[in-house]
């Protein structure tokens, strides 16, 4: 499959207060963005269990985004974003141990006021994952099970 035909599937775990509302605003503002990102809303990125990220890859995602509120101070729950800040580097290291390129995983901060930033992230990250090609993790897992 050439990269041009390949449509990556990306799962985004977005916090309810910042990045989810940025994505909402981006939609309401009709900002152009590729339809490759499926969003799962969580109340806080602190809720994102690393299991969710692995599960997304295992189910067939080619990329995963975790995005919340800017530290310091933007977090609706005082400091949930700091917990993400501590957890995500570990997830990143773990994914590489599983053989998943770190370019397939993005974590960061987009505030509710930064709808254009979200649209750009979706555009850039989709292209980045498209370059890498399909992950095929699911197929590999299934073939091992067989």
């Amino acid at each position: 499959m050439s990269t041009a035909d390949f449509e990556p599937r990306i799962v985004g775990f977005l916090c309810n207060w910042c990045t989810y509302s940025a994505a909402d605003t981006a939609g309401v503002s009709r900002l152009e963005q590729p339809p490759n990102v499926d969003i799962i809303r969580v109340m806080c990125t602190g809720r994102v269990d690393p299991v969710f990220i692995l599960k997304a890859f295992a189910e067939g995602a080619d990329g995963v985004i975790v995005s919340g509120c800017h530290p310091p101070g933007d977090c609706h729950y005082n400091n949930g974003n700091y917990k993400t800040f501590r957890r995500m580097p570990l997830v990143e290291a773990m994914l590489q141990q599983y053989g998943i390129e770190k370019e397939r995983f993005h974590w960061g901060w987009i505030s509710g006021a930064e709808a254009p930033k979200w649209a750009h992230l979706v555009q850039d990250f989709t292209e980045q994952v498209r370059e890498l090609g399909p992950l095929n993790w699911k197929r590999e897992l299934e073939s091992k099970e067989d």
Binding site: G46, R47, V48, E59, G73, H76, Y77, A113
Partner: protein, 604 residues
């Protein structure tokens, strides 16, 4: 109580009063140069000399120092007194021949020319010591002293050298009767005249201020400055306002205090600040005193302002031509991209004021006229009929011409060519922006801010006064630029939202809370330190963690970190999120029917 007669008039005196004080109270004029009601009398100028008759014996005495004893007879203008004063004025005029106040007094007593030789025709100091006394008694800086003696006597700081003791308060220049003391700015110091700001340390914020009481500016007030400068050693400097206030309303011991209140709702009404046009140099703000902001214009045209409401240029003349530039810092990607909403209308009002008060030609450089409110368009039409010249196009640049005139250059989009106007005064309708400390206030109340920097409402259309933090509401320009009617409406809405919350007497909490499955809890206590609201407590007797649902806000941090998987976030359970992930991928690959069955099977 003493009774005495002054110029034949029977007057009464309190214990401790001087003849001069009693005379002044009763409207009897005694000339003096070295007397000040707040300072100790000194008897230096001798001009207040009067004839005091006691037990039939007459004597010339300075009335500022002589006690008003019972039974005294005082003559303030007897021939002996007039003769004595004349001699004093002859000497004084000979010392200081060019001081108007002395010239005028001397004239009154028939002295027109200095009868004695003059040492220094520029001499203004009469050695009355008012400055020395004010510096010692009021300011408590003790900078000024008398030095030398006899004909060498003079006033100044120690060794006549500059001293750091001087705080530059200017009290000495205020009390000096002959204008002998000037404040000289250091050569390098930037001296910025602020003709539109307050002119003393005590001032009423505005004529419309509610409550209409004066405030003391501690950065300017001598008492506070001395206290700060000496680390609290000098706490009783000046206090003139306290001594003079008949209502005894001034209390310097009032200090800022932190008051802790338990409240059920908070309305954030922190307002806005005006954008500083110095940031866009093309408007030349600060390069000419005749380039002012809309706010400064308001001060100028205010009846309580420094010109008494007259619109005058810095040269004190009525302007012939005035330019008003709209959208300075608003709708400009070099400053604020948003519309400040209030400037069009106040610019129109200011155009009207200029036409009305001065008859000057007015040029309005505008991009679009946003007269959006009720009766606003009609007002715009009225101003058009007042012969105001409207130039559609952003005022691009203000130049200060060599003769001090101002040239406003811009483009007239209707004519399609460049235009310029040479004017005497430029009013910049500057942008409204979020207060500089909005980020600090925002993080205090857990408020997010929209792209323009103002606080974000919970929903731009449907929840305009609520925020994402429960019980915190927004009112007025804290949420975005607003004119007065909009602010009043918004604030009313915020107040009723707050009241509705309080009136109910109970709060509805979100069902999205974490719960601990106590059978699975391994008592590791990991969750306790993670909870930002200390909603999780550890029950020692049962050896389990438990969530207080009233405190829990449902962020789910503890859920993600529980090693035993014992904590569930209601409505955001692991199963729900994992099912969402599965659903995302299954729905495309498998048959729709199968996906539906699967989703039902999760049964949450």
């Amino acid at each position: 109580m003493a009774t005495l007669t002054i110029d034949g008039q029977e007057v009464h005196a309190e214990e401790g009063q001087t003849i001069l004080e009693v005379a002044r109270e009763n409207g009897i004029d005694i000339p003096t140069l070295c007397y000040h009601p707040l300072l100790e009398p000194y008897g230096a100028c001798r001009l207040c000399t009067v004839e005091v008759i006691r037990h039939g014996r007459s004597k010339l005495q300075t009335s500022c120092t002589h006690p008003a004893w019972d039974g005294l007879e005082v003559k303030t203008h007897s021939p002996a007194v007039v003769e004595a004063r004349k001699t004093i004025l002859e000497l004084m005029l000979s010392r200081c021949p060019n001081v108007p106040v002395i010239q005028a007094m001397a004239q009154e007593y028939g002295v027109t020319e200095p009868p004695f030789p003059t040492d220094d025709p520029e001499q203004k100091c009469i050695l009355c010591g008012l400055c020395v006394r004010v510096c010692h008694e009021m300011v408590k800086a003790d900078v000024l002293h008398f030095a030398e003696s006899g004909v060498e006597r003079q006033v100044g700081p120690a060794f006549m050298e500059k001293t750091r003791q001087c705080i530059g308060c200017g009290a000495c220049t205020v009390v000096c009767p002959t204008g002998a003391i000037e404040i000289v700015m250091e050569k390098d110091a930037v001296y910025q005249e602020k003709p539109l700001g307050p002119t003393s340390a005590v001032w009423v914020p505005s004529l419309q201020a509610v409550p209409r009481v004066p405030v003391i500016d501690p950065d300017v007030c001598i008492r506070f400055r001395q206290k700060d400068r000496t680390d609290g050693e000098i706490v009783d400097a000046c206090g003139a306002c306290q001594m003079l206030c008949e209502a005894d309303a001034i209390n310097f011991d009032h200090e800022d205090e932190v008051v802790e209140l338990d409240v059920g709702a908070i309305v954030v009404a922190t307002g806005f600040q005006m954008w500083d046009p110095v940031q866009l140099s093309q408007y030349s703000y600060g390069k000419s005193p005749n380039i002012i902001t809309g706010m400064e214009f308001e001060r100028l045209s205010n009846a309580g302002g420094i010109t008494g409401g007259e619109i005058l240029t810095a040269e004190g003349k009525k302007p012939d031509r005035v330019a008003i530039i709209h959208c300075v810092g608003s709708r400009d990607h070099n400053a604020h991209p948003y519309c400040s909403r209030i400037c069009c209308m106040y610019s129109l009002k200011q155009a009207h004021l200029v036409r009305d008060k001065t008859g000057a030609e007015v040029y309005e450089f505008y991009m679009d006229m946003r007269s959006f409110g009720k009766a606003y368009e009609e007002f715009y039409e009225r101003i058009q009929e007042e012969n105001v010249t409207f130039v559609r196009g952003r005022g691009a640049e203000v130049q200060v011409l060599p003769d001090g005139k101002l040239r406003v250059a811009g483009e007239d989009a209707d004519l399609g060519r460049k235009v310029h106007a040479d004017v005497d005064m430029v009013v910049l309708s500057t942008a409204v922006e979020a207060p500089h400390d909005a980020d600090r206030v925002g993080s205090l109340f857990g408020l997010s801010r929209s792209e323009d920097g103002f606080f974000a409402e919970a929903h731009p259309k449907l929840r305009p006064v609520e925020t994402n933090t429960e019980g915190v509401f927004l009112a007025g320009a804290a949420q975005g630029p607003k004119d007065v009617p909009d602010t009043v409406a918004h604030a009313g809405a915020a107040a009723s939202m707050a009241l509705a919350l309080l009136d109910k007497g109970e709060v509805t909490i979100s069902p999205q809370v974490a719960v601990v499955d106590e059978k699975l809890c391994s008592a590791c206590k990991t969750c306790l330190s993670l909870c930002p609201y200390t909603a999780i407590s550890f029950i020692e007797e049962e050896n389990v963690a438990r969530v207080n649902e009233a405190l829990c806000k449902g962020c789910g941090t503890c859920v993600a970190s529980c090693p035993a998987g014992a904590i569930t976030a209601r409505h955001f359970t692991d199963q729900q999120i994992l099912a969402q992930i599965e659903g995302l991928f299954r729905s495309l690959e498998e048959e729709p029917a199968a996906a539906e069955v699967e989703a039902e099977g999760v049964n949450l």
